[in-house]
Symmetry: C2
Subunit: 476 residues, 2 copies
Amino acid sequence: EEVAKLLALKAQLGDNGTKQKFVLKTPKGTRDYNPAQMAIREDAMNTIKACFRRHGAETIETPVFELKETLTGKYGEDSKLIYDLADQGGEILSLRYDLTVPFARYVAMNKISNIKRYHIAKVYRRDNPAMTRGRYREFYQCDFDIAGQYDCMLPDAECVKIVAEILESLKIGNFVIKLNHRKILDGMFAACGVPEDKFRSICSAVDKLDKTFWDDVRMEMVDEKGLAPDCADLIGTYVRLSGGKDLIEQLKQDERLSKNKLVMQGLDEMKLLLRYCDLYGVLDKVSFDLSLARGLDYYTGVIYEAVLKGTPASEAKANGESVGVGSVAGGGRYDNLVGMFDAKGRNVPCVGVSIGIERVFSIMEAQVNMKATRTTDTQVYVASAQKNLVEERLKLCNELWNADLKTEQSYKEKPKLLVQLQYCEEHGIPLAVVIGESEIEKGIVKLRNVATRKEREVPREKMIEEIRLELQQLSS
Amino acid sequence: EEVAKLLALKAQLGDNGTKQKFVLKTPKGTRDYNPAQMAIREDAMNTIKACFRRHGAETIETPVFELKETLTGKYGEDSKLIYDLADQGGEILSLRYDLTVPFARYVAMNKISNIKRYHIAKVYRRDNPAMTRGRYREFYQCDFDIAGQYDCMLPDAECVKIVAEILESLKIGNFVIKLNHRKILDGMFAACGVPEDKFRSICSAVDKLDKTFWDDVRMEMVDEKGLAPDCADLIGTYVRLSGGKDLIEQLKQDERLSKNKLVMQGLDEMKLLLRYCDLYGVLDKVSFDLSLARGLDYYTGVIYEAVLKGTPASEAKANGESVGVGSVAGGGRYDNLVGMFDAKGRNVPCVGVSIGIERVFSIMEAQVNMKATRTTDTQVYVASAQKNLVEERLKLCNELWNADLKTEQSYKEKPKLLVQLQYCEEHGIPLAVVIGESEIEKGIVKLRNVATRKEREVPREKMIEEIRLELQQLSS
């Protein structure tokens, strides 16, 4: 009986619903950007790009998809989130998951020994979207990387400096850049008795500490990953530590850790990094934090993560995940990734950082009055006071465009003057050129200041000049 | 026996080939852009963007993939070229094939009644790549569209004006913007006796006239598409015509065509378009060309295509396809596309144009000396004359970055002065700040003009000021 009802309902829908049988939406976890959102976004991206270029970076671009095998074995537990393309004959392809692996492929493929590049582009992850907090399946990354055989911590410190510069100029609130070192983590795991083949999976568990309580992380280590309980507890005592130079000295004295060469090497490097951060004036922005692990497999040295301070961690964890936006930038050193693409295993050491721009947008969108955001740059509007002046308007527009003045007009043949002037006011266009029969006869135009509504007569042949002057006055 | 040989060979490969079992390449039909290519590309894109903004356009962005059903039934014969994503559970998705259908989806979904927007992004087509001529499977489109209920030919003429402005400012050679009208084409098909259900497929055949000879097109019409031979011959007499206002008058007198209302309406609209083109100063750039058809199904009115003049058509056709780059822009009016996405069939008339930027890049790359193209903006290089000055260099860089000066330094602790100065010369960096023990003692820095190799001493506290002055002089 219920089936019959449904069928009847369906037949009914079929009758008057022939046009739209599909759902009108963007794919799950994706969104369109409207003009106001784009204006904010381009603003933020220009700030970021300016910083990258201030540090002497050039830019490259890679395709949105790669051969699937290029991505295989680079992301550890996250590999399941990669989007595959359908097999339509030919190569097996996947959408890029980040910009780092394609960059390493590029460096290896072109046998580049050193490059400092930025790349701003979208990446794709079949993750559980949380769009209110700026987490999408399609999202922008703004990456800056330095590849080349250089001296210890010099490129690494510049990445920290760049993150600090960008987050300060974006004005999205106070932040801290957490620092850690894979050598310290791995050495600490060894010193705590973690078997070497479990390093990466235990690291991946530690990485969740920013989202969940230690108890859950411990459970994952012991129950899921088969770590001995007392071994997990030992790790627990370390990963809760954070600080600065003092913590480095404390760990150097630690009986268990000080016996481990890897830890000691990592601590020396961390000390140098903090020294350079001091010289770069960003020491007060960084925190050496042993709970920072980063999920990805490919990191081999320093790792970074910038977190906005606004949201107290306790509140964030109470909801199971961060309430605020949390991490806004992250990165680290990956010295073996390029070698994975080279036939002879030739390596190019790399370090880089990625700005999580979507989260930045979420904050900026909340800060800004979206309705007051101008989405065009139009400087002049050509309006007519009577009918039958369409050809005259076209001639004026042509003159203004040819003079590189940003100009609009109505696409109606006989628009009402009031409608045209209203358009100017609503869209924040500063100037209007108004013509009528009498102006044409006199060889003049009326130049209107839209905000003050004051008009003055200007000889037609001086129009461009007068508009330029007036725009200059308005912007000063 | 052969199998045994192969197995032995494979075992051999397995031994010393463990590192790289994969091919190091980008997917078929795609490419990376290196920094020099990017510099040229950003230059071209900025020119295009500036023109769109000069005409008062705002920008939007849509996801790189859409629900598959959003794209279904929009592209006619080209639908087979759409990239599908693998079914990994969840929605069935495809990569966008152009920016027009996503734009129409956006307009319908957000119930927008008018918008003038540009969108610069990559689209995806599983076409036969011809990369030497700038034809890729992943390529940029630069789209400008005007949506809204406006008066005849006013938005359409602005699109022509925009194409002319862009192609002129890109300086890639002489061009002609071919114009035609789907109403004229469809009316002509009807007048020649083409059955209505064959309009689109015959139109698609005519579209190939720019790449192949009439004989081949005729064969496709008759043999493949079942058109009566004399009907095809009639079409042949028309599609070879092109001209200006004169041709419009000639066709209005044509016995066969003048009886068709659709043709007459199309001719009147074409006449108005040419009038507006005249007022916009681009009449000498356009040609009313009856062979222009455009492949896509969704066009309903005026259609455009801009072609570079360099390559003689005869030579192009001799090779079976265009030798030069051919079409560099195209578009047209599509009044019913938005309605296809609206539950109530509510329509928003649209007209737009797309710049085929990859072909433009191919030409620009061939014009420019790639090796001389600067890929960074670096203004100052901080160099040290002795060892052990790394901390001093870091302090100087920090000062310069904080003053928004684009600054680089060596990532070596103890770089050689000569190597540092060579880097400046090779990378076209205009200024270098050189420090040594004695400069530090005296509280000065040496400011070096890299091109002239002249150095002068500058008090440390006046460094920023002096650099700004010198940069100003260099750029003037």
